[in-house]
């Protein structure tokens, strides 16, 4: 595989998801996944032709700057060597693994992400969001440094209102770090996002009709089963 590699790193999960969304929509790149080392550092990995990767990374940096991220680090490698791909999680095998996990019941819906520093604020915000609008809590994600992100799915208007309400609740309980709304994510992005197991529909195997050898029942004749009363005459009677 001789495609180029692009990496971009920020210190927030909603921001990196939003960046990945912008990257996948800006050029013909494939989102491989998110690499979450601890300490709040998240990296989005994209592959594609060198021109596409360059456009995508430039776009990603621009979006990350709009999200007030000071520490952005990015990299474009035009032709990574095969050894690099074997060892590091940058090859497209990762996405194949992600694809094989089953079909999410929450696809084709807008995504809302809300990140707090500390767990109680996240739970409180998630509760408020579920009570505010018709949204589903899809999953949560921790990236270290006390940062945890709650991911909700629903229609765009529901998600926007839910995030707006959750934002105030999170700020009341603890510390809010970042929010993001993705009105219509691409399939790749959806597959890279975590989904709780209760929403994953495992492929069901349909029952196949196998011809089985059936035992033939021996048809008894009617007469065989007929009982004929036999009267035995007692001896000595004329």
């Amino acid at each position: 595989m001789s495609t180029s590699l692009g990496l971009i790193q920020t210190r927030s999960f909603p921001v990196i998801v939003r960046v990945a969304d912008a990257m996948t929509k800006s050029a013909g790149v494939t989102l491989i996944g998110f690499e979450k080392i601890s300490g709040g550092y998240c990296t989005a990995i994209v592959r594609g032709n060198i021109a596409d990767v360059r456009i995508a990374i430039e776009e990603g940096i621009e979006v990350a700057r709009q999200f007030n991220q000071e520490e952005i680090s990015s990299l474009v490698i035009p032709r990574p060597l095969p050894n690099l791909e074997v060892v590091l999680p940058i090859s497209s095998k990762l996405s194949q693994l992600a694809q094989s996990r089953g079909y999410s019941r929450l696809s084709n819906l807008a995504v809302g992400l809300l990140e707090t520093r500390g767990f109680p604020a996240m739970v409180g915000a998630a509760d408020t969001m579920l009570k505010t609008a018709d949204v589903q809590l899809a999953a949560y994600e921790t990236i270290g440094d006390g940062l945890c992100t709650v991911i909700i799915r629903g229609t765009v208007s529901n998600v926007a209102i839910a995030i707006d309400a959750g934002m105030y609740e999170a700020e009341r309980i603890g510390e809010l770090n970042a929010v993001a709304v993705i009105p219509r994510p691409l399939d790749e992005l959806e597959q890279a996002l975590p989904v709780a197991s209760c929403f994953v529909a495992q492929p069901v195997t349909l029952p196949v009709a196998i011809p089985q050898a059936q035992k033939e029942e021996v048809q008894r004749s009617e007469r065989a089963g007929e009982r004929i009363p036999v009267y035995l005459e007692p001896p000595g009677t004329p």
Binding site: R18, N68, D164, M167, A178, A180, V181
Partner: protein, 225 residues
């Protein structure tokens, strides 16, 4: 604008305000301003309360010539016996407590002053950036000319900051509690405006503005939270 404001005032307040203006004093009152008796207000003083805000001038208060008191985002209370020097500028909400003494040409941005406190002349108290944050949320709907004036504000006190840092003539023990008192409202303000700095907030606001075009009017109150 001023005539419409005056028409919304209660009659007692309005008559008081107009009496003060047409009588001996030469100061201008606009909005809900409540001046108690025996308060002396110098010529050229401007007392302006934004819609929903209030200015209360206590008994025996002395306000020097050319001062401007502009209440916005809450009520501005000048308690009894306080003295404001010439050309003092007070903007925002807060309380100037009893018998406080504000030196001439001092600027108080959205902060409170303790009792008996002495503020040196030409000093700047409060967070100079507070107004711009509120402006960004669009909480207060200011007139265009006011918005222009507000944008000039952060540039002007920048010089005042250095003056405030120079050792004031008053004893230092008195200055520290004042500065604490000044810092507290500033922190509150920052807490309310903190949501603005959250990554993604601006984008969410744009999205909500597109989905619900009339939402700003409905939820302008919770912006203060």
């Amino acid at each position: 604008m001023r005539s419409t404001l005056a028409s919304t005032l209660p009659t007692s307040l309005r008559s008081q305000a107009w009496l003060a203006q047409s009588g001996k004093a030469h100061y201008v009152v606009s909005g809900e301003v409540d001046i108690e008796e025996e308060a002396s207000i110098g010529p050229g003083v401007l007392l302006r309360a934004n819609p929903g805000c209030r200015i209360h001038i206590g008994r025996g208060v002395c306000i020097g010539a050319g001062s401007i008191l502009h209440a916005c985002g809450g009520s501005l209370v000048v308690e009894a016996g306080a003295t404001l020097g010439r050309g003092v500028l007070v903007i925002g909400q807060g309380t100037i407590s009893e018998n406080a003494c504000i030196g001439s040409e001092a600027t108080l941005l959205n902060c409170s002053i303790l009792r008996q406190a002495v503020i040196p002349p030409g000093s700047l108290l409060g967070d100079p950036t507070w107004r711009s944050e509120e402006e960004a949320t669009g909480v207060t709907q200011t007139e265009p000319e006011e918005a222009e004036r507000v944008q000039e504000l952060p540039a002007a006190p920048a010089q005042g900051v250095s003056e405030a840092k120079t050792p004031p003539p008053s004893p230092k023990a008195e200055v520290t509690p004042q500065e604490q008192a000044a810092a507290e409202p500033a922190q509150e303000q920052r807490g309310a405006g903190r949501l603005n700095g959250i990554p993604g907030r601006a984008e969410l606001e744009r999205l909500l503005g597109k989905i619900y075009p009339h939402r700003q009017v409905l939820s302008s109150r919770d912006g203060r939270f």
